[in-house]
Symmetry: C2
Subunit: 258 residues, 2 copies
């Protein structure tokens, strides 16, 4: 942890991750609870699929040789599929088998010892894409100028969510199952989705609240050492500053060194 | 701009800056509008005064020698005074003359060519502390266990806000005058402050909206080249990705190289 930097949580994904900086978005809520402990960097790119995000990750995640002065990524969330699951001829479409291969490539970029970006200090979580509401997304597509056809299907996105769980099981990575959490809370009914989806594809505040809740549950369960309550602030709380010698009590600390 | 990092906006301050990660806080709103262009790092530390924040800045801002692989801080906001203006014997108190000297030291840390942290690429903005509501803060202090006396005064914080403007004028740094903007919107009446202050000292969503508005105005006026609309996303918008050769169109770019 060099001067100028703190360790970070990196959020890799599509527009649903990018929108995480909205008020009550999951990035905003993470930044709030990890304030003074870890920085949150949002690498969500609207419209991106797994195919396009692979070179992005390679350019956002330092190689081992470059890493020394740079922030350590303590948690990497990988959340794609909403665009991969778009129907051809939509150019965002990535076939299911290739989607699985891309997820493996993304995880291995940081988790495989033979990768130049291998980072044993980085915890990885795979998130499933949220369910799609076909009627809502069809309306949104029809409103565009010129109008567009429905290019996302409930059953297809469900199959992509299934693939995330399969790949995660195969690689031994933990899953944050956004698809199931939202579908369950919607009462497994199409009309229940309006509370969680703003346009049939992207999330409302309630949707992001679900994501934040199950993400924090996953951290508590699988990586309890990085729950915000277990970390110390990098600089001390003000009532811990030594009145006699403030400067020596203001030494930068490792958030994890508690 | 090395792998893993993007240029950043750094927010230096006290609890009012730290609270910027609340929904609709000014950090959240900056992160939202600068998404995919600049990262926002919050270096707000609850209860800190200028005296304590000086060693913090020295440890958060890289020296010239260390800087090469690290993110460039493109904008540094310095927002303190709410705690410096606390009345003795409150240990956060910093006398007005020392507060002025500390503000000069903070600005010179990055703006003075003979500083080891001199950074001509960094734009600096000084923010004035918000006005204090004595009745609201007295109530909040009385509710604490054990109850505490009123330790912030409207007139004293106003004098600290005046000092920010004076130091800024002296050093040729631009000011974001939070004190005047909120006091004006409050109709220059004590009872008007409740809209903008949550406890007489810290900001409500409306208060942060004012800060975000005048901060963006300052950027537009003084540093128009770094308005978010003038920056390109570090990775291209998805409809700019080359279908034939996606990887070559996915080269990381300088947000400022438009």
């Amino acid at each position: 942890m060099a001067a100028n930097v703190q360790d970070v949580i990196m959020l890799l994904g599509d527009s649903i991750t990018q929108g995480g900086w909205e008020p009550h978005g999951f990035a905003q809520q993470l930044a709030y609870v990890y304030n003074r402990k870890l920085d949150v960097v949002n690498r969500g790119m609207s419209g991106y699929n797994t195919e396009w995000i692979i070179p992005v990750l390679e350019q956002c995640f330092a190689t081992r040789d470059d890493r020394a002065p740079l922030p350590t990524v303590r948690l990497l969330t990988i959340w794609l599929g909403a665009n991969d699951a778009a129907q051809p001829p939509t150019r965002q479409h990535v076939p299911l088998a290739q989607y699985r291969a891309n997820l493996r490539a993304l995880v291995r970029t940081v988790a495989s010892p033979d990768s130049p970006r291998y980072s044993p200090a980085t915890r990885v979580l795979l998130l499933t894409p949220p369910p799609v509401s076909e009627p809502m997304w069809a309306r949104r597509q029809a409103e565009k100028v010129p109008p567009r056809a429905l290019d996302r299907r409930f059953d297809v996105t469900r199959a992509y969510a299934d693939a995330v769980r399969e790949v995660a099981g195969e690689l031994g990575v933990h899953v944050v199952d956004v698809w199931s959490a939202i579908w369950t809370r919607a009462g497994e009914k199409e009309e229940g989705l309006a509370e969680y989806l703003r346009d049939g594809l992207h999330l409302t505040e309630s949707g992001y609240n679900v994501v934040f809740e199950i993400l924090m549950e996953a951290i508590s369960t699988h990586f309890p050492e990085m729950h915000p309550d277990k970390l110390q602030p990098v600089f001390p709380y003000f009532d811990e500053i030594d009145d006699e010698d403030p400067r020596s009590s203001l030494q930068k600390r490792d958030a994890f060194a508690t």
